[in-house]
Point group: none
Chain length 261, copies 2
Amino acid sequence: MGEIPDSHPRKPSLLARARLTEAAAEGLLAESAMIAHGRGEAFDYLLGEMTSDSALAAIHESAARLLAAERPVISLNGNTTVLAGKDAIRAAAILGCPVEVNIYYRTSERMSKLISTLTEMRDEVSSEPAPDAWTGSQWPDAVMAVEILGADADGRIAGLEGPRSQCSSRGIEAADAVLVPLEDGDRCEALIALGKQVLVVDLNPLSRTARMANVTIVDEVSRAMKKLCKALLDNPSPTQWDNDATLRDALDIMAEASNRI
Amino acid sequence: MGEIPDSHPRKPSLLARARLTEAAAEGLLAESAMIAHGRGEAFDYLLGEMTSDSALAAIHESAARLLAAERPVISLNGNTTVLAGKDAIRAAAILGCPVEVNIYYRTSERMSKLISTLTEMRDEVSSEPAPDAWTGSQWPDAVMAVEILGADADGRIAGLEGPRSQCSSRGIEAADAVLVPLEDGDRCEALIALGKQVLVVDLNPLSRTARMANVTIVDEVSRAMKKLCKALLDNPSPTQWDNDATLRDALDIMAEASNRI
């Protein structure tokens, strides 16, 4: 893909596609990852490619629940690593929690490629400017303390079978709150059944994941993760949360898309 | 991709995705095919993943216009060959017309792979049960008589330039009615300008193709093609057709999606 001019109205979306195409060539993604991304692009198009007020509220609620949790974890798959890996590491550094690579089509080659990608990203983030109020070596220390789990797969998600049940015993298995961008429905259901807080980022408000999660952020994952980092610094508190209302709001925005023609 | 259990609520969608992933690995699809499919998945989600009454009416109208045409043709690209190739051949056998492989990113390698895929599909269809009322060798004879055009590319679509203008002189160039699932907007416009009846299958009711076609079937292509075969056997007649009404109905269904939460 050639240079995309800054003036292009859909530059972020085209850049995301280019990054994924590159990552696919490098073997970071499952074969169906581009289909999943294409589906996301369509929903995002209908959303107007911006974070809605209700999505922002869901981001703040997710931040609050992650901060309130005793053992939060951020789960990452191929697409989210590529699109939002660095911001996920920033969020984990603020929370003092691990990230865990957890992929649907698990191969040891993809796992190790994703883990080394995240390890490089962690190095980069540690040398980047600290958020306000972090002084001295606080920020690089916090970033380098973020564990990147997933390689061991010594844990199980009860209620699932086969490779999809694999996880880290110190990550998803032990967690009381899991941020799972772009999760599959079965796994979301199993995590909910285990009594964990499940906070998801999903552009499809009708997916099983979106409808089952405790909090659903209907937003594009790189926008959402960036805003989550900001929200975590605001130190919000959990509220009574009506997740169906946020899903309905997203669908209403999509329904209005035909009026934008 | 592992076995998908029969109980999975979205099995047809996952199977379609698996088939496309496999076809991509075999070199049957353009690079952008997976993203295009994902986009379709998003619209289909909003439609509830079923054929609406207005889409069924559009299928019947398309069947009627194909039956009324003197030289109908069914145009196929990579995705439609993979998802609905066999039903396209069945429809062509009932109509006594050719199918034509016509792809946006034309390479001779992809063309020959798609043509040999369709040739194998034609063999399979010929030995499968005949529709009611077809007796003896009528059905296998009709199926094996379906020409698979496209390799020669000795025709031109006036009004287009470059590789996209290429077609078969005995197929799309000569046709008075073209069924074009998943067409691009420019080509749809050129076919309309040539005075052909253009009948399209497009999950995006807002696409240029959907808005320009004579009849737009807003439905997933494998569902639509299966129902088209049935509709052809009912021998319907063309009517006055309000295509904008069918597009509005599809948008209304998508807009109502929030009530399904």
